[in-house]
């Protein structure tokens, strides 16, 4: 039996095409992936991301318990600020990538990938000193409101001030949206301005409907996993299980910026990453465009002079960049901008070139 978010019925009423996504019955698209993608780039799109997990550290010592588990630094973070971070293995590879919310030193909430929820919770429970984590996933639904018109739409439904001056990127607050008590977080996975709204599951449909009704004039569209994937790929945002996993380190993934080397007390995986940094990273996750014809897909081999040297981790026809784009791990010597290699597509070697990322440049 597939897992269902509180919005499952709402998706079906909207005629969504539902698919199995890591055990969840989720909408992949409502109308068209490209139309939904464009709605987010040009107006506003609404995503159900209630399948994500939320793990909480609460009480005296919460910060001290949570901080050593992540690569980024919650101590240097302010209350009301969120951080993108890695949960790393001793080898410096990814258990998961997460967003950690610092409400106060006594209240930390960590949003994890749905596919990793049980693994992360066990992993954190085993390693946390003092305060033990609690899995709060079932107490939150989560909607993402993304796009240039997201701020205006959310603002019309809340008394909480959500302008960038008051609620900048990666800041969050609490308040009512359409009468529903929410955590309002200026975060997202599309490359556009927008919010992630955490609310009680039994109020999720009311919030969803209010956003769709109020957003009509803005051209709001409900958006599925298809658009979520093409939007994040154009930004070169990593997807766990595709671009990052327990086999690739944070440095190989180009996520050194979420590693705080000098944080007090260190973090799990630090030694391995320091060694790798000193010795040099042998392979790197790059973004490339196909210069020949075809579309790169997850798992396709990357070839240099006919030899397999890597693998495509994500790929798509970018609806906004209007080019076949992808990511993949290649030897460091092939990782610089302008480097060329081939992607093997159904037995055919198709030329590709490493390009500057994100693929999508802000207009």
């Amino acid at each position: 039996m597939a897992l269902r978010t509180p919005l499952n019925e709402a998706h079906r009423k909207l005629g969504a095409r539902m698919v199995d996504f890591v055990g969840w019955d989720m909408p992949v698209q409502y109308s068209s992936v490209i139309a939904e993608h464009e709605a987010v780039r040009q107006a506003v799109g609404l995503f159900d991301v209630s399948h994500m997990g939320e793990i909480e550290f609460s009480g005296p010592g919460a910060l001290e318990a949570a901080n050593p588990l992540i690569s980024n630094d919650l101590v240097r973070c302010k209350d009301g600020q969120a951080l993108y971070a890695g949960l790393l293995t001793e080898q410096g590879t990814f258990v998961d990538d997460v967003v950690a919310y610092r409400f106060s030193p006594e209240h930390i909430l960590i949003c994890v990938n749905s596919s990793n929820r049980a693994k992360d919770f066990a992993w954190m429970s085993e390693r946390a000193q003092g305060v033990k984590p609690v899995d709060r996933s079932d107490e939150f639904a989560q909607l993402a409101v993304q796009g240039p018109k997201a701020e205006a739409l959310v603002q019309r439904l809340t008394k909480t001030e959500v302008s960038k001056a008051r609620l900048d990127t990666y800041r969050f607050t609490t308040g009512e949206v359409a009468g529903v008590q929410c955590i309002l977080s200026r975060t997202g996975y599309t490359g556009e301005d927008g919010f992630e709204l955490y609310c009680p599951p039994d109020r999720a449909e009311a919030l969803w409907n209010a956003l769709l009704t109020e957003g009509k004039a803005d051209g709001v569209k409900p958006c599925g996993l298809g658009a979520r994937d093409s939007l994040r790929t154009e930004m070169k945002y990593a997807l766990y299980g595709n671009d990052i996993d327990e086999a690739h380190t944070a440095l190989e993934a180009g996520l050194g910026w979420i590693v705080k080397w000098d944080k007090a007390g260190g973090f799990i995986g630090k030694q391995a990453l320091e060694k790798q940094k000193a010795e040099g990273v042998q392979r790197k996750l790059v973004g490339f465009e196909l210069t020949g014809s075809g579309i790169p897909r997850h798992g396709y081999p990357i070839l240099k002079d006919g030899q397999r040297v890597g693998e495509v981790t994500s790929g798509t026809m970018g609806p906004s960049v209007k080019k076949p784009i992808g990511m993949g791990y290649v030897p460091a010597a092939l990782a610089s901008e302008g480097s060329t290699f081939d992607v093997e597509i159904r037995g055919r070697a198709v030329a590709a070139q490493v390009v500057k990322t994100p693929f999508r440049k802000k207009p």
């Binding site: 095409r17 698209q29 068209s32 992936v33 490209i34 298809g226 994937d229 093409s230």
Partner: protein
């Protein structure tokens, strides 16, 4: 059955359609196929003069999420391909039975057409 399964075409189990046009047969994918695929973003076409074998793969159609094989309804020679699909594959979505045609084949044995599905049989297949 409606306009989504035109009465003057013949169909395959794999959701291709065929239309007789003099000596050649025009081939495309059905409304149902394009709807199931979602936004078509790439069509890999055979070369002019390529020989096709009935029931064998002749190309690939890709949507934003899926890669699907195209199967030839007939054996024969490719005499025309729809180059417009290279620049704008989405016409398969907007006009699957018209501007979104895929190729024209000159059949080696026109009798093979008799083995294809009637509109009614294709309609039944979708039920």
């Amino acid at each position: 059955m409606a306009e989504n399964i035109p009465a003057d075409l013949k169909y395959t189990q794999e959701h291709e359609w065929t239309r007789s046009k003099g000596k050649v047969i025009v081939v495309g994918v059905t409304h149902h196929a394009q709807e199931a695929l979602g936004d078509v973003v790439y069509v890999e076409l055979p070369k002019l003069g390529a020989s096709l074998t009935a029931g064998k793969q002749f190309g690939v159609i890709e949507s934003t999420k899926a890669v699907s094989e195209l199967f030839s309804p007939l054996s024969g020679t490719v005499v025309q391909v729809n180059d417009a699909l290279t620049g704008n594959p989405s016409i398969v979505n907007t006009d699957p039975y018209g501007e979104g045609w895929i190729l024209e084949v000159e059949p080696s044995d026109p009798k093979q057409l008799d083995g294809l599905l009637s509109p009614q049989a294709y309609s039944d297949l979708l039920k």
